[in-house]
Amino acid sequence: MTAVVQARVFRNSYRDSVELMRIAAELESMDGVLRAGLVMATSANCEVLTEAGLFVDSLADAGPNDLALAVSASDAAVAAAALELAANRLGGQATETAAPAQRANARTIAEAVAELGKADLALISTPGTYATAEAMKAIKRGLHVFLFSDNVPLADEIELKTMARRKGLLMMGPDCGTAILDGIPLGFANAVRRGSVGLVAASGTGLQQVSCLIDRSGAGISQAIGVGGRDLDERVGGAMMLAGIERLLADPGTAVLVLISKPPAESVARAVLEVAAGASKPVVVNFLGGDPEAIRSMGLIAAPTFEAAADAAAAIALGRPVPAAMDLSAYDHEAPDGQSLLAAAASAASTLGAGQWRIRGLYSGGSLAAEAKLILKAVLGATAARHEILDLGDDEYTVGRPHPMIDPRLRNEHIAAAGADPATAVILLDVVLGYGSQDDPAGAMVPAIEDARAAAAADGRSVAVVASVCGTEADPQVLSSQEARLAGAGVLLAPSNARAARLAASIAALAAVASAATSASERTRAIVEQAAAGMTR
């Protein structure tokens, strides 16, 4: 019988000797294992391994602080199995003999998997520097990964996604904050009804808005896969967007797909749209700010806003006719609840003073802020740039401070400042509910809104406050009670961020029209005439 020798090196490995001894003993007791050497790769030990016939080329460049594992076995399969066993043991520790009263919590992915028995997903939220290694360990073990961490280098993202693709696994992230898998919400997700709409999203709050609006219209979500904000970058190539599409097409529980992203790089857009076009199920594509024609020409449904995407998908899922594609600037005069958006805008605009013109958007969701900016541009044209839409969740605001979805203080400060500014006409807000958000976002915001109004009133001004609540009845915060709280504070509510942005834009447009008026009654007349004409430019 010729013995087979295989070896592996673990770089910069610092395990305590008791552990190493245990692993070595375990290896030597395996059937078919003739000898096992588990030693630090010092030159003295490499000489001994050579003498023992255990030295192989792969150990040649190992150094004294690297751990060398060499196994001599009756055949290659046994040797490989022994190395694998040792690698698993080294990847985490076997549960130590703790005192009976203590129960050690799993410290590593290996331990956790052992404890759970059957795990298929790892949710990783560690500082960016360490995230890659952990994600890699998980993928190597055959787990899908939800990677919350940001500050992960692009090269690492590419490597992780390539590895995951090869193994048929999902690598969601980095910087992925939201997903709903098999009905289980991960990260910043909402409690939405289960149904037949599948989402693949490179945007967290986009996923939240679409899923909540689908829930509102009576349809439900089969799977909502987050892919991380950078997935559709040219260098990443939409790897996970494509993987997500594949999965949803193969999922019997999904009848219609929705793809959500800001416009991808051209090559990536082409690749994604081609796959979508050849799909056996209808695909709604929401590339925020992208060209709808390119999408329609491939036979796909182009949705310019999150709301349009949700409406189209829900209609398909519920077997209803798909609404006509809405332009960003299109007005819908009748909201589903019967309230005319224009009428609401007109009455708000008529309460404003001559010098009030500015929209101050104070957002916690980045994609919602982006959508608002697009809508403002479409409705107001060139003058849109004079208004201010802030994404308060952006890095520049969150260094050393919690995210506004978790801590209301930063946004409340801005609300107060907006109220104090005599040029402010409208404060535009997003209120995001769900498992990751604070207990009572509306309640936390109302005092600041009331203070802002009071400050303006002291100056003889009124301020319009417009908001949309992204959430569902089943969310811990309960959609209807959050809306009621805001309505009670005089906030003008819209059922979606797109409508809220349009409402704010309408108020500003009508206020601008009236700015030339010299008296209050002239002002009101000008606004009503304009509103009636249905024109906003």
């Binding site: 910069n12 610092y14 395990r15 305590d16 000797s17 008791v18 190493l20 001894m21 245990r22 070595a24 003993a25 588990l38 030693v39 630090m40 010092t42 030159s43 003295a44 030990n45 001994v48 003498e51 023992a52 004294p64 602080n65 130590e96 410290r107 939220s125 520097t129 360490y130 919350f148 961490s149 940001d150 910087d175 969150t398 050393g400 401070r401 919690p402 995210h403 978790i406």
Partner: protein, 313 residues
């Protein structure tokens, strides 16, 4: 991403090795090197390793003893984290952890030389100690003999592991070189033990430290042999072992080694068995390997090489 606040905590060190605070001086920067259950190491450029350890480990020549809970791996430490050190504290900003050195007892890692009566006492108890050690070494789990344990007289296990056989041959040569007081020759021979054998501190290094301790305790003229042997230790063994070897070459040892030698050479017979048992329990094989070195060193220094040489296999 949401920021997670880390509550700062300061722990008071109970004991610190005397050379350490002056070496830290006004302000030094290091990096977390490695983390274990009962200790973690900090790499301090240009080549030092400081260990922050649980008090149960006893004084260490490069160490600070502090109670940080049952598992140092749960403190949020990670390799490469920045560490700020000065004579008064050691802090890891990323984890909010700070170890204050002010109130710590200063402990010296230097080995006191034994008194004149030590030689006589040792001669009287040497063979009993050897029997005791061999019995305990066999009685302990099989893994204990995986280091150099097989070299202990009377321990009949499987054929000696290769590294132990190699060590036996080196010790034979040392047995010839040391009595001649040829420090350089002894150093060159001893160098072959550096990095040899299993363990995070390879067996050969533990044996050399034990040997050096025995020679220091007995004031042997060749006790400086280790300096020559460990000049290039960082290239030939692990970082942790290299640090301990360097301290041993300077005559600085751990508290438990100090206690072991004090018991073996002291005037209380009853203190010997528990000291031996405790020594065997160190690490996986570190204790046994160190003991091999200690016994070898005492035999050389005090002329008690047994008729059946423990290394003549």
């Amino acid at each position: 991403m949401p920021a997670i606040a880390v509550p700062p905590r300061t722990a008071l060190a109970t004991q610190v090795s005397t050379p350490l605070p002056p070496r830290l001086g006004a302000s030094r920067r290091g990096r977390v090197h490695s983390i274990y259950r009962t200790a973690f190491n900090v790499a301090l450029p240009p080549g030092d390793l400081i260990v922050i350890a649980d008090p149960a480990l006893g004084g260490l020549p490069n160490g600070v003893l502090v109670d940080l809970g049952p598992d140092h791996r749960r403190l949020g430490l990670a390799p490469d984290q920045l560490v700020r050190l000065d004579a008064r504290s050691i802090a890891v900003p990323a984890t909010g952890l700070r170890v204050a050195l002010d109130a710590a007892v200063r402990w010296s890692p230097r080995l006191p030389a034994a008194d004149r009566g030590a030689g006589q006492r040792w001669r009287l108890r040497a063979s009993d100690v050897r029997t005791l050690v061999a019995t305990r070494a066999i009685g302990a789990s099989d893994t204990r003999s995986a280091g150099f344990g097989g070299l202990l007289a009377g321990v009949q296990s499987r054929p000696l592991p290769l590294h132990a056989a190699r060590a036996a041959s080196v010790l034979d040569q040392l047995a010839a070189a040391l009595p001649g007081d040829d420090v350089d020759a002894a150093g060159r021979i001893a160098r072959r033990l550096v990095g040899l054998g299993p363990g995070l501190t390879p067996s050969g290094d533990d044996a050399l430290i034990g040997l050096a301790a025995a020679l220091h305790a007995t004031g042997h003229p060749a006790r400086g042999f280790l300096g020559e042997a460990v000049e290039d230790a960082p290239a030939r063994t692990t970082a942790v072992a290299a640090t301990l070897l360097r301290h041993a070459a300077d005559g600085e040892f751990s508290e438990r080694l100090q206690r072991l030698l004090a018991a073996l050479l002291g005037d209380e017979d009853a203190a010997v068995p528990p000291a031996v048992e405790q020594a065997i329990a160190w690490g996986a094989t570190s204790g046994t390997d160190c003991l091999v070195g200690v016994l070898f060193g005492l035999d050389i220094a005090l002329n008690t090489v047994p008729r059946e040489s423990s290394v003549a296999r």
